[in-house]
């Protein structure tokens, strides 16, 4: 296909997308099998072991009572941020390069949120009482305390998950309809249900346009609030290095940063393995690269600010926490994070780097390793250096925790692999909008109109 010089027509987009849904090669099945195996072996098996043995199977103990489970929770919530948020911002600002990639980015949001939700269940130890966090009438005289940041979390994440699911679904209704006409058997029945009888009339488009824009406008402040609230889980405690006002913006920027890097990874995989070379081009990588470098600079600034605040506070506890972070037991992780998230992204200053697919893929993974480390450090180093030396101690994740950490990757991949076979992973109608309209002279290539706006 990439060698084909013929210009893409509207019908080609339908063909390509339907093909991506219906034609499945052996590589897909092998990847899916591996992903499911990793999920079962690395995630569910250790989790069942932990449920059976007790939460002591994890390395969390006094004073570090939060470990990699919560680090994974923040990581996956963070990764969820770029998808829907970026898609909404680019929709409002009418950036047309969004159109080729937003569907998969939104799916990333949805699945990272699901994984994050599961991480909470793993962390709490007694997940069968998870419904106690919900305000529902019951006979136990039990009702949640809405002053707790954990309750803010429950409300925010539930809302975000609902909002993101609705947003991705609404944007896909016209595409479900397009796919419905082309499929047979169980697929056809599924798409008949999912497309709700969409016909593409002027009234339907008009209503969809309005509803979609309203949703985008509602979801932007929601996404910002979600990670601010996650940060308050920590910042509203009185632990040195966690009790900081910078935490909300710090978390939000970190979230968008790692999420954007995640989009680069996903785009690379889609482009390579779903044959979407026509739609996801170097222009997208270039724009994402520019975005990443801006985010990395903001992130670096906030990190410097965090160090400065701790030093300038003149408080012995803050100062001790700072010293421990820079030179203590976990110092090598701190400097690894700085190298991966503050120094390495500077490579993207070069346009040649931004438009090279493999280097961008490697860098995006490196950034996310660094961002995972950041989350681990926030949780781990702060709690292991509290006020008095009797509450000092080192936390090392147990094999159960490390295995579950790896297993989340498998879970995310499994969900995403199922997604690409059910949802059109690029938006048919929005790609068409960026193409030449039938009956017009050929001027542009799909997905690239508008440039880096």
């Amino acid at each position: 296909m990439p060698d084909n010089p013929r210009k893409l027509q509207f019908a080609d987009v339908n063909d390509d997308v339907v093909r991506s849904l219906t034609q499945t090669g052996s590589a897909y099945y092998i990847t899916l099998t591996v992903a499911i195996t990793v999920t079962l072996v690395c995630f569910f098996f250790p989790w069942f072991y932990q449920l059976n043995y007790g939460i002591g199977a994890a390395g969390m103990n006094q004073p570090t009572v939060w470990g990699t489970y919560l680090a994974s929770f923040i990581f996956w919530i963070g990764l969820s941020h770029s998808g829907t948020l970026l898609s909404c911002v680019l929709h409002i600002t009418q950036s047309s390069w969004r159109k080729a990639m937003y569907r998969s980015a939104e799916a990333m949001t949805l699945f990272s949120l699901m994984v994050a939700g599961t991480m909470v269940m793993v962390h709490v130890g007694r997940p069968w009482f998870i419904h106690w966090t919900l305000p529902y009438p019951n006979q136990m005289g039990l009702w949640p305390n809405f002053r707790s940041p954990l309750m803010f979390d429950v409300m925010a994440i539930t809302t975000y998950l609902t909002g993101s699911s609705i947003f991705i679904y609404m944007g896909t209704i016209p595409d479900f309809a397009a796919v419905r006409d082309r499929t047979t058997g169980w697929r056809h029945h599924m798409y008949v249900m999912l497309s709700l009888g969409w016909r593409g009339t002027d009234t339907e488009w008009h209503r969809l346009g309005w509803a979609y824009t309203f949703l985008a406008v509602l979801i932007i402040p929601l996404a910002v609030s979600v990670h601010s609230i996650v940060s308050w889980d920590f910042a509203l405690s009185l632990v040195p290095a966690l009790h900081q006002t910078i935490f909300a913006p710090y978390f939000v920027v970190g979230a968008i940063y790692s999420g954007t890097a995640g989009i680069v990874t996903v785009m690379f995989v889609l482009r390579k393995y779903m044959n979407f070379e026509h739609y996801i081009t170097d222009l997208h990588f270039d724009n994402l690269g520019k975005l990443l470098i801006v985010l990395s600079l903001i992130w670096t600034y906030i990190n410097a600010l965090e160090l400065f605040t701790a030093w300038y506070s003149g408080t012995s506890t803050e100062y001790e926490a700072l010293k421990y972070k820079l030179f203590g037991y976990y110092a090598w992780l701190y400097w690894e994070m700085i190298l991966f998230c503050a120094v390495a992204p500077l490579l993207m200053i070069s346009k040649r780097f931004r438009t090279s697919f493999v280097p961008m893929l490697i860098l995006s993974i490196v950034i996310n390793i660094g961002m995972y480390t950041e989350r681990f450090l926030i949780v781990g180093t702060s709690l292991s250096r509290q006020y008095l030396p009797d509450s000092w101690g080192v936390y090392v994740p147990s094999s159960v925790e490390i295995s579950i950490m790896v297993g989340t990757l498998g879970m995310f991949s499994t969900l995403f692999l199922i997604f690409v076979k059910i949802f059109p992973s690029i938006s048919i109608y929005e790609i068409k909008e960026t193409m030449d309209q039938p009956g017009e002279a050929a001027t542009s290539t799909p997905g690239t109109e508008g440039g880096a706006d």
């Binding site: 809405f146 002053r147 409300m155 009888g197 969409w198 488009w205 209503r207 509803a211 009956g439």
Partner: protein, 172 residues
């Protein structure tokens, strides 16, 4: 009750839009367009479209906000938990719950408004041309009888329709 429709298929959006305008000018009921992408300039030809969605969103937001605050404040009043003489109804944390519920209800009501105003999900068979989901632009107009259909067909053909179909749908 069955409604008869003349449906013209056009290769380009401009021709379809022009045909719709002519049909309307010739005294037909307001035609409906079907297209693979949102068409520009429909409102200039077929008249301004008003959507009730924004009212739904606003109502949802207001209801959500009130419910959110009442949920948090009501909980605090019913399950008293005095903390060092501080107020029972504490504004800053409750504003967060209010904020989240405002957005949640705003989103849910927007979806409701969309379904109601776009008449989805469809509960009866309606005129549909699968080509309009690929690369054709269709104009559908209601006709009373054969003579009426022929008049519509001639207008559609004149405007550049590649094909004109006679179709039926259950009337609302």
């Amino acid at each position: 009750m069955v409604s008869h429709q003349a449906v013209g298929l056009f290769p380009a959006p401009d021709a379809a839009l022009a045909a719709a305008g002519k049909l309307k000018g010739a005294g037909f009921a307001t035609p409906s367009l079907m297209s693979p992408i949102p068409m520009e300039g429909v409102e200039e030809v077929l008249g301004e479209k008003k959507s009730v969605i924004k009212r739904f969103t606003l109502m949802g937001g207001i209801i959500g906000g009130i419910c959110g605050f009442l949920l948090a404040a009501g909980t605090a009043v019913v399950y008293l938990h005095p903390v060092g003489g501080r107020p029972i109804i504490t504004i800053p944390p409750f504003l967060i719950i209010t904020y989240e519920m405002t957005i949640l209800f705003g989103i849910l009501f927007t979806v409701l408004g969309f379904f109601i105003s776009a008449r989805l999900p469809a509960i009866r068979e309606r005129v549909y041309v699968p080509e309009a989901a690929v690369d054709k632009f269709a104009v559908a107009v209601e006709v009373d009888d054969d003579a009426h259909f022929q008049k519509a067909e001639s207008i559609l053909r004149e405007a550049g329709a590649e094909e004109v179909r006679a179709m039926k749908e259950e009337a609302a």
